[in-house]
């Protein structure tokens, strides 16, 4: 178990703490989703799977499987496999992946919110891009 992986676990918990704290104030962000997407550029496949399962375990709110949980679980894995297909700086690919992830989340789960209250998406996007970038730059190593 290396230090970067443990730092990733710590960042995931910080993302949850921030997200749940802001939610009680009526501000909804998807920090942990942004962190998971950033992890796809930073960790090995099996490390990513552990972090994704950890997030699913904490965020799941019902016994059954839901579209939300499937998105949270599989999108970072898909990003992991797609990251080599596009030739750009990793930090920029991370931003694009966060944007696409949140866009998919809003369009599939909250089409009406996306259409009639785009500001909710924009605030979430801003927070996600920021937290995803912070995660990426804190945990990246040479070559990322």
């Amino acid at each position: 178990m290396n230090f970067r992986f443990l730092a990733g676990v710590a960042l995931l918990f910080i993302a949850f703490l921030l997200q749940f704290f802001l939610a009680t104030a009526g501000i909804f962000m998807n920090f942990f989703f942004a962190a998971l997407i950033a992890f796809a550029f930073l960790f090995t496949f099996w490390e990513l799977v552990v972090l994704v399962l950890m997030a699913v375990f904490i965020v799941n709110w019902q016994p059954g499987v839901s579209v939300e949980i499937v998105t949270f679980a599989f999108y970072p894995i898909a990003v992991f496999f797609a990251r080599g297909l596009v030739h750009m700086q990793s930090w920029f690919k991370n931003l694009i992946a966060v944007f696409i992830g949140l866009f998919i989340l809003y369009v599939t789960l909250a089409g009406r919110t996306f259409l009639y209250h785009p500001q909710a998406f924009l605030v979430d996007l801003l927070g996600g891009l920021l937290f995803g970038s912070v995660t990426f730059f804190l945990l990246r190593r040479e070559g990322n």
Binding site: M1, N2, F13, F16, L17, Q19, F20, F21, A23, T24, F28, N30, W46, E47, V49, V50, L53, M54, V56, F57, I58, V59, N60, W61, Q62, P63, G64, E68, L105, Y106, L109, A110, R112, T113, A120, D124
Partner: protein, 236 residues
């Protein structure tokens, strides 16, 4: 060479443990979430008084208009604790610790301090998923005030009553109570704050106020299947 192999085994064990927890003991995850979520402090007297006021107003409206039509049945509501809440802003749902084993049925009304706050959406063996009135998909036929004017409660971040007949003499403070099939009759839902004309100009619509904060609710009562009366004196 031995270190990466050992790390690989640790990761495999972590994955196995997490999969086991996710599929067989998800309640530990809910407990971690409760631990990570700061508890709101806006509980107490104001909230209790407001909900009590709404309950009394609903009972008054009920007595004035429909009391003779209501059979008096003993309240055998099911008490349940809130386990976890929907973590995003797309829905307003929460999980409670009573399911089919405790007699919960799909569509049952969920009550907090005598006020309807949602209905059971899915039922599991020992838990149920509740859709609150703040969910965009929530719909419930309601009546308003002592005149009993019909309307449709439409859920959302700011729930409103739609399809109210034009010219209905509604006033701020009028109680809104349930009138939908499968829901106990005359369960208070909230009070009218103001009215406007609907966008198509055919009906009136009313905005509402609620005497509770959904995020602070820890205990609810679930109406048993086929309950037809509101709980007159139920409180958590």
């Amino acid at each position: 060479m031995a270190k990466p192999k050992r790390e690989g085994w640790i990761l495999v064990v972590c994955i196995a443990v997490l999969l086991g927890l996710i599929f067989f003991e998800p309640s530990y995850g809910w407990k971690i979430r409760m631990w990570l979520t700061p508890q709101a402090t806006l509980q107490g007297d104001n909230s209790s008084l407001a909900t009590e006021n709404q309950t009394l107003a609903a009972q008054l409206a009920e007595l004035q208009s429909v009391q003779a039509q209501l059979p008096q049945a003993p309240a055998n509501y099911i008490r349940a604790m809130v386990y976890s809440r929907y973590p995003l802003n797309f829905k307003s749902e929460f999980l409670v610790n009573a399911g089919t084993a405790q007699g919960v049925a799909q569509g049952s009304a969920v009550v907090f301090q005598g006020i309807a706050i949602g209905s059971v959406e899915k039922v599991y063996a020992n838990s149920s998923l509740v859709e609150s009135i703040f969910d965009n998909d929530f719909k419930l036929p309601v009546r308003i005030g002592s005149g009993g004017y019909d309307g449709l409660l439409t859920g959302g971040a700011d729930p409103i009553i739609t399809s109210i007949q034009k010219g209905a003499p509604l006033m701020a403070g009028d109680i809104v109570y349930s009138a939908g099939s499968g829901f106990p009759y005359a369960l208070p839902v909230g009070t009218v704050v103001g009215t406007t004309t609907s966008p198509d100009a055919l009906f009136e619509q009313a905005s509402l106020s609620f005497g509770y904060d959904l995020n602070t609710i820890q205990t609810v009562l679930i109406a048993p299947a086929a309950t037809s009366t509101a709980p007159a004196t139920l409180t958590q």
